[in-house]
Amino acid sequence: MSASILGLWNYWAVIVLMMTGLYIVTARDNLVKKVMGLNIFQVSVIMFYVSMAKVRGGTAPILVEGEETVLYSNPLPHVLMLTAIVVGVATTALALALVVRIQEAYGTVEEDELVRIDDDDG
C-alpha cells in the first residue's frame, strides 16, 4: 500500500485537481465560472498525460547528438497534449462567446436566473 502511495500520489494529486475543476463546472451557476472550472478540468487532464510520460531520471525528449544512453521522457503524450491544449482553448473561446450573447439576450449569466426567465416565458 505504502509503495503504491509513493508511486501513485502524483496521479492522485492530479485527480483531486481534476475533480475540483469538475465540481466547479457542475455545481456553480455562473456561466463564466463554469468555463473557469472547465479550464481547470482540462489542464488537469493534460497533467495526467504528462505525468504518464515522465520517466524517472529521464530528460526532455530533445535528442542529443551522439549520445546513445540518454534516458528520455516519452514524447508521444506531449504531442497529444499540444493538440488537447488547443482544443481546450477553442472550447473556452466558443463558450465565452455564447456567454456574452446570453448576457445580451437575457441580461444575466446565472443559470438559475436563466431557467426562471425561460419558465416565465412559458
Binding site: V25, Q42, P77, T91, L94, R101, I102, A105, L114
Partner: protein, 497 residues
C-alpha cells in the same frame, strides 16, 4: 486516385470548410457546399462497394505505417456509417439557406457553410479513423461545430441550449480523452487494431482483470454515452434539438448520435471485445435496463410535449434506447438490430425534422397546436410527417419495422421474452405521440385569424420525400440496410479480438 479514397472522404469536406471563407461569394459558397456532400456520398458509396468486395481497407496517412502513424481503417461498419452521414448531409443542404435566411444576416452565410462542412468532416473523420486520439480530435471538431450550429436557432433559448450542450459535451469529450489516456498507459499505443491486441485479456469470466483497463473502458463508455445521449445522460439532447434551426436538428439527429453510437460499438466490440464487455463485465446488466427505461421515458416525455421539435427530440432519446438495446443484447442479431436502426432512424428522424422544418417555414412556429389545418393546406408535408411517424411506430412496410424485427428476434433468441414484449409495447407510446400530431393536422381547423399558409416549394419537399421515401423503400427492400448491417455486425463481432 482510388487508393486515396479513405483520406479524400474526410479531407474534401475538411478543406472545403476554410475554402468557403476564401470564396465568400454567396453562390460560389452554396455551390461548393452542395457539391461537397455529394462528392462525399460518392466516395462513401465507392468505399462501401470496395469494402464489400475486398474486405477492410487500411490507409496509412502520410505513408507512416501504424502504429507509428495514423491509420484510416475502413470496414463494413464504418463505410456503412459514412454512407449515411454523407447522404443526410447532401439531403439537408437545400434547407440550409432557405431556413437560415430569416434567422441570419446574409453576409454570414459563408461562415455557416464553413462550420457545416467541418461538422460533416468531423463526423466522417470519427467514422474513418483507426486511431483513438485522432478520433478524439475529430470528435472535438464535430462537437465544436455542432455547438455553434445549435446556437443559431431563432429563439434566444438556443444560446442557453448550445451552452449547456457545450459544457456537457466537453465533459463527455474529456472523459473520452481520459479513457484513451488510461488505455494508452496500459498498452503504449493509440491504434485501434494494435490496442485490441495489446489490451490485457480478462483473467476469467467474472473477473475484470486489470483495474486500469476497467476504468479506461468505463470512461470511454461514459464519455461516448454522453455524446450519444444514452439515458440518463440525455438531458442536453431535447434542448439542443428543439432550439437549433430545424435543418440543423435534422442533420444532427440523423448523424451526430449515429456516429457516437458507431464509435461506442467500435470500442465495445473491436477494442475490448464482447468476451470482456459482456462475459467479464456484464455490461448488459446495466445497459439493458437503461435502454428499456430510455425507450419508455423518452416516448412518454414525447407524448406530453407541446412543441413538435421537442417531441421529435424526446422520441430520439427513446430511439437511442433501441440502438443501445441492440448492443446490450450481446448477440450478432441484436447488434444487427442496433446497426439497422442506426440507419433507419437516421432516415426517419432526418425526414421528420425536415418536415418540421417545412412547417416551421410556413407556420413560423413549431407548436403542435399551430399545425391545425396543415393536413389540408400542406398535404405533402403532412403526408411525409405521417409516413415518418408510422416508421417511428414500426408499422410493417416501413424501415422502423425492420429494426424492431431484428431487436425482438434477438431478444426471443435468448429467451428474453419480457424484453421482446417491452420493445413492441414501447412502440405503442410512439403511436400515442405520433397520433397527437396527426389528429391536430387533419382534424382541427386553422384559426380564421391566423396568417394564410400553403405548401412549401418543391426544393424543400423533394429532400424531405427522399428521406421519407427511403424509409418506405428500406422497409421493403433490406439488402442494403439489414444485409450490410448483418455483415457489419458479423465483422464487429468477430473483429480483431
Amino acid at each position: 486516385m482510388s487508393e486515396h479514397l479513405p483520406i479524400l472522404q474526410v479531407v474534401v469536406p475538411l478543406l472545403a470548410g476554410p475554402l468557403c471563407l476564401l470564396l465568400r461569394h454567396r453562390l460560389l459558397v452554396r455551390g461548393l457546399a452542395t457539391a461537397v456532400p455529394l462528392a462525399c456520398l460518392t466516395i462513401a458509396g465507392l468505399l462501401l462497394h470496395r469494402v464489400q468486395q475486398v474486405g477492410a481497407i487500411s490507409y496509412h496517412i502520410g505513408g507512416w505505417a501504424p502504429p507509428l502513424g495514423i491509420e484510416y481503417r475502413i470496414d463494413l461498419a464504418n463505410a456503412y456509417v459514412m454512407v449515411i452521414v454523407s447522404a443526410i448531409a447532401a439531403v439537408v443542404m437545400p434547407f440550409l439557406p432557405g431556413h437560415m435566411g430569416s434567422a441570419m444576416v446574409r453576409r454570414r452565410e459563408h461562415l455557416f457553410y464553413a462550420i457545416f462542412l467541418l461538422a460533416l468532416a468531423g463526423l466522417l473523420g470519427i467514422s474513418a479513423t483507426g486511431d483513438m486520439f485522432n478520433a478524439f480530435v475529430f470528435l472535438e471538431i464535430a462537437s465544436l461545430a455542432s455547438y455553434s450550429l445549435v446556437a443559431l436557432g431563432r429563439h434566444r433559448r438556443a444560446l442557453v441550449a448550445a451552452y449547456s450542450y457545450l459544457i456537457i459535451g466537453t465533459i463527455g469529450g474529456t472523459f473520452f480523452l481520459l479513457g484513451i489516456g488510461l488505455m494508452y498507459q496500459m498498452t503504449g499505443t493509440l491504434n485501434m487494431v494494435d490496442l485490441a491486441h495489446r489490451l490485457p485479456e480478462p483473467m476469467s469470466p467474472g473477473t475484470p482483470g486489470s483495474r486500469t483497463v476497467l476504468v479506461a473502458f468505463a470512461f470511454l463508455a461514459v464519455g461516448l454515452s454522453i455524446k450519444l445521449a444514452v439515458f440518463p445522460l440525455h438531458q442536453w439532447l431535447p434542448r439542443a434539438y428543439a432550439h437549433a434551426p430545424s435543418a440543423v436538428s435534422a442533420f444532427l439527429a440523423a448523424t451526430s448520435t449515429k456516429v457516437s453510437y458507431y464509435l461506442l460499438v467500435r470500442v465495445v466490440f473491436s477494442l475490448f471485445g464482447a468476451a470482456y464487455v459482456f462475459d467479464a463485465l456484464k455490461l448488459d446488466r446495466l445497459l439493458l435496463p437503461l435502454s428499456i427505461v430510455a425507450m419508455f421515458a423518452g416516448s412518454t416525455a414525447a407524448i406530453f410535449q407541446t412543441d413538435l421539435k421537442r417531441l421529435l427530440a424526446y422520441s430520439s432519446v427513446a430511439q437511442i434506447g433501441y440502438m443501445t438495446l441492440g448492443v446490450s443484447l450481446a448477440s450478432v442479431t441484436g447488434l444487427t438490430g442496433g446497426l439497422v436502426h442506426l440507419f433507419n432512424h437516421a432516415l426517419m428522424k432526418g425526414g421528420l425534422f425536415l418536415a418540421a422544418a417545412c412547417y416551421g417555414m410556413r407556420l413560423r412556429s413549431s407548436r403542435i397546436a399551430d399545425l391545425a389545418g396543415a393536413g389540408r393546406l400542406m398535404p405533402w408535408t403532412t403526408a411525409a410527417f405521417v409516413t415518418g411517424g408510422l416508421a417511428l411506430i414500426g408499422v410493417p412496410g416501413t424501415a422502423g419495422f425492420v429494426s424492431k424485427w431484428y431487436l425482438v428476434l434477438a431478444a426471443l433468441e435468448q429467451g428474453r421474452w419480457l424484453v421482446a414484449v417491452l420493445v413492441v409495447a414501447s412502440s405503442l407510446l410512439a403511436v400515442a405521440y405520433v397520433w397527437r400530431v396527426v389528429e391536430v393536422a387533419y382534424f382541427a381547423d386553422r384559426d380564421a385569424g391566423a396568417h394564410p399558409i400553403k405548401e412549401v416549394p418543391p426544393l424543400l419537399l423533394v429532400p424531405t420525400w427522399i428521406l421519407i421515401g427511403a424509409t418506405v423503400y428500406f422497409g421493403l427492400r433490406t439488402e442494403l440496410t439489414a444485409g450490410v448491417a448483418e455483415a457489419a455486425a458479423g465483422v464487429l463481432w468477430e473483429s480483431l479480438r
